[in-house]
């Protein structure tokens, strides 16, 4: 897989995880029931945490860049 596709795909996956986590958080804050706290911590927190970890992991595991193409990379071109 080319490095750009690799990063793009990982960015999208972590972005989607974070989006779902944040939407669950927003829902739980509006949903005034005791179970909302548990859902926020377990589901929302897990999705956001997973998204963040996935993003950080993709930063350190990205293959080196060889071309001027989109995507985050820690490696110098």
């Amino acid at each position: 897989m080319p490095p750009d596709d690799f990063m793009v795909r990982r960015l999208r996956i972590s972005g989607i995880l974070v989006i779902f986590g944040l939407l669950i958080e927003a829902f739980c804050l509006v949903w005034s029931r005791p179970i909302a706290f548990v859902v926020l911590v377990t589901l929302g927190g897990a999705l956001i945490g997973l998204g963040v970890v996935f993003f950080l992991h993709s930063l350190i595991s990205a293959p080196p860049h060889t071309t001027d193409s989109p995507g985050i990379s820690l490696h110098k071109q």
Partner: protein, 209 residues
């Protein structure tokens, strides 16, 4: 931070993350990389922390505790029009904050007290959703009520330290302070909520809600 502000923050963060998902090419620039780091690392974690803090604060509110059907009669007990009812007297006279009445008395004023109170709350949720719920009058405390929770406010107060009954016997106050003589289960202040034992003559105060 108000709940609506936290909700807006979470939705705004989700919107920015959505922009990254739709257009990942913006991360090619330096500003895009910074944006990606903020949107996929800083903002979600900040939003989650603020959201959890908001929920923690809300979980201390009287309305939160009374939002479960099984607690309704305990909420009603705060309005009993009889000063001998300990919970009602504290609530109606603002000896505890009216909006955090349950939490103020039922938290643990020791290290990790709030944490233990939250664990107790999780246990309530477990029973509420997964076990057979007891009748309101059958609900018991997890452990005997520690005088420390009363003394957190009353220790040093003139009415407590110089009260006639408290000083009738010189051994009483030291025993109370050492948690050897319970405030609520030694026959002194034992009428607390008394749910299920109100009888037909009990009246309710309609203020304070």
């Amino acid at each position: 931070m108000p709940t609506i502000a936290v909700v807006i923050l979470a939705l705004f963060s989700a919107l920015l993350a959505g922009v990254l998902v739709v257009r990942p090419a913006i991360t090619v620039s330096r500003a895009g990389k910074i944006l990606a780091f903020g949107v996929l690392f800083f903002l979600p974690l900040f939003s989650l922390a603020v959201g959890m803090e908001n929920e923690m604060q809300r979980s201390k509110s009287t309305a939160f505790c009374l939002s479960c059907h099984i607690m309704e009669s305990y909420g009603k007990s705060l309005h009993v029009d009889d000063p001998s009812y300990l919970a009602a007297a504290h609530y109606q006279n603002h000896r505890v904050p009216a909006d955090e009445a349950c939490y103020t008395c039922h938290t643990n004023y020791a290290m990790f007290g709030s944490f233990k109170a939250k664990l107790g709350g999780l246990r309530h949720l477990y029973v509420f959703y997964l076990k057979k719920m007891p009748l309101p009058e059958d609900i018991k405390l997890h452990e005997p009520f520690n005088n420390r929770e009363c003394l957190h406010c009353h220790l040093g107060a003139r009415s407590f330290e110089q009260g006639a009954t408290h000083n009738a016997d010189p051994d009483t106050l030291p025993a109370v302070k050492a948690n050897k003589l319970s405030c609520i289960s030694s026959g002194c202040h034992d009428v607390v909520h008394n749910v299920g034992r109100w009888g037909n003559n009990v009246k309710f105060w309609d203020g304070g809600s």
